[in-house]
């Protein structure tokens, strides 16, 4: 056949192959599952905007949909104050204010004072959850410039305001000096914060302020001393994030990182580890099996005795020992898994080759002068391709579970957030086990393995005539 004819022929064969695979219900289910995971891995950056280690919500927050199960009285979600508004002097007539917005959190305020007064810059939020946030985090940077003042200095302070009910503050205050930047970070977990406002030290301020639904304001107040002057203040990074006690599709871990994002990026890593390690293992097994089976004699004896020895040595302890001795970067682990996963396949290939070697068509090829490598590549290999597919599918789960087990034991790559690593952190976090943190990675491992196993078994039934049903 010429190449032009061969390609369409192969395509038709591939199509038929898929049709047979799709007809088998279990294989079809496996294929769909696998496609879902491949999609999740490929589209990870589109599916989630958070990085796996980035703080996204409150610490150990369950998924948002628990509020549909248990009622929403106890749950809140993330909330953000809106963009900045400058309020013209509310309390004094001695100031006129001009402001230029530089972004949602940044503003430049220019003040012309006649007799001193107050400038207020704030943001509003319509807080719609009946439960308080689990923590709050805010920042502020104020830089006064072109400040022509005498001895008295302007004061800056930050407040919360449940509009029309009451005010809390100052959360922070400072004296502004020309050219010097004043900045602060406000954390609700800071024990001194509540104490400064007269509450018991250690109380979370968010629990007090956001104890009810309503309209809230968060503002900076600059108190200008009396006198005639001009000044401008650059207010930057004026933000306040409220982290709810539920977050996203799968909740958060004990640092507040998004578990859905860890899960999706973990899919990438697991698929990578499983496929690459298996391809290495299948490659090594194929070479050793072909050589042992076809060359026979001493080569066969030596290779097979070595294979037997490797086969008897328990794999997980060897993995553990090698990973802790050779180091545990992800690539190291892939290589170790690959080079420990070839033995069974090598034996299978050898036994196939042994029976193929005696067939007439091999003798014919030999008689017409074909060399060893030609016979191996063109006559023997095509006859064991089916086996290769089956084993490819069936060995991937072992590699995936192997990597997860190593990570779970703390021997994995400490920088890669794989599914095993997620389970390890969930167990080591000493906060009791959180179901939303444990179920996704384990289910991921199980379902991904299952999809490969389902496909593998159906391929096996397809290629292995002994397993075909009698009709």
């Amino acid at each position: 056949m010429t190449l032009q004819k061969r390609v369409p022929f192969r395509l038709i064969r591939l199509k038929n192959f898929f049709l047979i695979l799709v007809k088998n219900r279990l294989a079809f289910a496996g294929l769909i599952l696998l496609l879902l995971f491949v999609f999740a891995a490929a589209a990870a950056p589109l599916l989630t905007s958070n990085y796996p280690t980035e703080k996204a919500g409150g610490k150990l927050a369950p998924p948002f949909w628990v509020s549909y199960i248990y009622g929403n009285a106890r749950y809140s979600q993330n909330a953000q104050f809106g963009s900045l508004t400058t309020y013209t002097n509310t309390s004094s007539l001695g100031v006129s204010v001009q402001s230029t917005s530089l972004g949602p959190n940044d503003v430049n305020v220019t003040v012309r004072s006649v007799a001193g007064g107050t400038v207020i810059v704030g943001k509003t939020l319509d807080y719609s959850y009946s439960a308080p946030p689990s923590e709050m985090f805010g920042t502020l940077v104020v830089t006064p410039s072109s400040l022509s003042l005498g001895s008295s200095q302007p004061q800056v302070a930050v407040f919360f305001d449940r509009i029309g009910v009451r005010e809390w503050g100052p959360l922070w205050n400072d004296t502004l000096k020309p050219g010097l930047t004043s900045q602060t970070t406000i954390r609700s977990t800071d024990p001194g914060l509540a104490a400064r406002l007269g509450y018991q030290s250690g109380t979370d301020l968010g629990q007090i302020v956001f104890s009810a639904k309503g309209a809230y304001r968060y503002f900076v107040m600059i108190n200008l001393p009396p006198g005639q002057f001009q000044a401008s203040f650059l207010i930057k990074q004026f933000s306040m994030s409220l982290y709810g006690n539920t977050y996203g599709l799968m909740g958060t871990d004990f640092t507040g990182a998004d578990i859905f994002s860890q899960f999706v990026y973990g899919t990438q890593l697991s698929l990578m580890v499983g496929l690459i390690a298996t391809i290495i293992g299948i490659g090594v097994g194929l070479i050793i099996g072909l050589l042992a089976g076809f060359l026979g004699k001493m080569v066969d004896e030596v290779l097979m005795r070595f294979t037997d020895m490797m086969l008897v040595i328990p794999s997980l302890p060897l993995l553990i020992v090698l990973a802790s001795v050779l180091g545990s970067s992800l690539w190291n682990i892939i290589l170790i898994l690959g080079f420990l996963g070839w033995m069974g396949f090598a034996r299978l290939v050898r036994s196939q080759v042994l029976s193929l070697r005696e067939r007439p068509f091999i003798e014919a090829a030999k008689a017409s002068g074909a060399g060893t490598s030609y016979i191996l590549a063109r006559h023997i290999f095509p006859n064991i391709v089916g086996l290769t597919y089956v084993n490819l599918a069936l060995s991937v789960p072992a590699a995936i579970v192997g990597e997860a087990a190593l990570s779970f034991l703390g021997l994995g790559d400490q920088t890669a957030i794989t599914w095993g690593k997620m389970l390890e952190s969930a167990r080591e976090s000493f906060t009791g086990l959180a179901w939303w943190w444990i179920i996704p990675p384990g289910l991921g491992i199980a379902m991904l393995s299952l999809s490969f196993i389902l496909i593998g078994y159906s391929l096996d039934e397809l290629f292995n005539p002994r397993l075909r049903r009698r009709r």
Partner: protein, 343 residues
């Protein structure tokens, strides 16, 4: 070749395997970053030959070939002598001293009850997984193609692909943390050193502690046995002697267990022995999840402490167990299967 020849050949193979494992172990632990440096550093120390100094590193590196009887100073060993010494140490179970506890490794292994705990856990779960796997496998094979068959095959595939550590965590979460039916981990609640309550009173608490880890291992392993039993049973059920047995009017149970299972049992026995290695691997993880103070949990803590002598010893012992299990299954097969002696 008779039975004796077969056994001799197997024993020889087993011996070669043990040598291979020891060599592999030596090679791996010579590769540890630092080992070569420590040895080179020690060898440069002029006072090294003093018995008080070298004694500390004696077991670990085997630096001393012999002691000079007059000065009590040692004659340093060459690399090949070190290997020889290591070899003898391994064969005589002289593993040296644990970095963590400072005690001889064999004492830490047996004297602390770790070996007993592991054997208990593995024994119970092997027994149950074999019983469940074989019984259900036989019934499933006799009803091939029914919903009962597909259901069990799917279930065992699912439990087989569930990672043990995850199953363990889920069980702790549900049965220990939420329902409080079982303790979340540990072997016994009894404080060490205090007098133990009478044996009969210990049994319920011990079973409560054993239940979850044993359940995890059983669930993980019954699937493999079930699928294998089903496959070999399907093969032997299609043989002519089964048709004959049925034609004779034997009851279904008799046909299944006396005729089909007996002939299908050889691969099951081999597989039970071969799966021993996997069982030990599963034990490392399950014991870690449940804080079950056995050999597996010990390996885990050795990893975190970088306690290389313990890891080395444990790897060797596990490999040895697997090799011996294989040897025993070989003997067993040789005795019960007349065809094997004349391979």
């Amino acid at each position: 070749m008779g039975l004796r020849g077969y056994l001799l050949k197997r024993a020889f193979n087993t011996f070669i395997l043990i040598l291979f494992v020891i060599t592999l172990n030596f090679a791996i632990f010579q590769l540890i970053p630092g080992t070569q440096g420590v040895i080179a550093n020690l060898l440069q120390n002029p006072r090294l030959t003093d018995k008080s100094i070298i004694g500390r590193y004696e077991n670990q590196f085997g630096l001393c070939a012999s002691y000079d009887p007059a000065t009590q100073h040692c004659v340093l060993a060459t690399a090949s002598q070190r290997f020889g010494k290591y070899f003898v140490n391994m064969l005589t179970f002289n593993f040296g001293v644990s970095y963590q506890s400072g005690h001889p490794i064999l004492d830490d292994m047996i004297g602390t009850g770790r070996l007993y705990n592991t054997l208990l856990l593995l024994g119970v779960s092997t027994l149950f997984s074999l019983l469940i796997g074989i019984f259900i496998g036989v019934f499933v094979a006799s009803r091939r193609g029914t919903a009962f068959d597909t259901g069990w095959v799917t279930t065992s595939l699912v439990t087989y692909s569930l990672p043990t550590f995850w199953m363990g965590l889920i069980f702790i979460l549900v049965f220990a943390q939420d329902l409080h039916w079982f303790p979340p981990g540990g072997v016994t609640p009894f404080p060490t050193g205090a007098p133990l309550p009478p044996f009969l009173q210990q049994i319920p608490t011990r079973i409560a502690h054993l239940f979850l880890p044993a359940l995890v291992l059983t669930l993980y392993f019954y699937g493999g046995h079930l699928l294998l039993t089903r496959a070999t049973m399907l093969e032997s059920l299609s043989e002519d002697y089964i048709t004959t047995a049925r034609a004779k009017g034997l009851s279904n149970t008799k046909v299944l267990f006396k005729h089909a299972l007996k002939n299908a049992s050889l691969p099951i026995v081999t597989n039970a022995a071969l799966s021993f290695g996997g069982l030990l691997g599963g034990a490392i993880i399950t014991e870690t999840v449940f804080n079950w103070d056995g050999l597996g949990h010990w390996i885990f803590s050795a990893i975190s402490y970088k306690d290389f002598p313990v890891m080395q010893a444990m790897f060797y012992i596990i490999a040895l167990c697997v090799i011996v299990a294989n040897f025993i299954s070989d003997i067993f097969l040789g005795v019960i299967d007349p065809r094997i002696k004349y391979e």
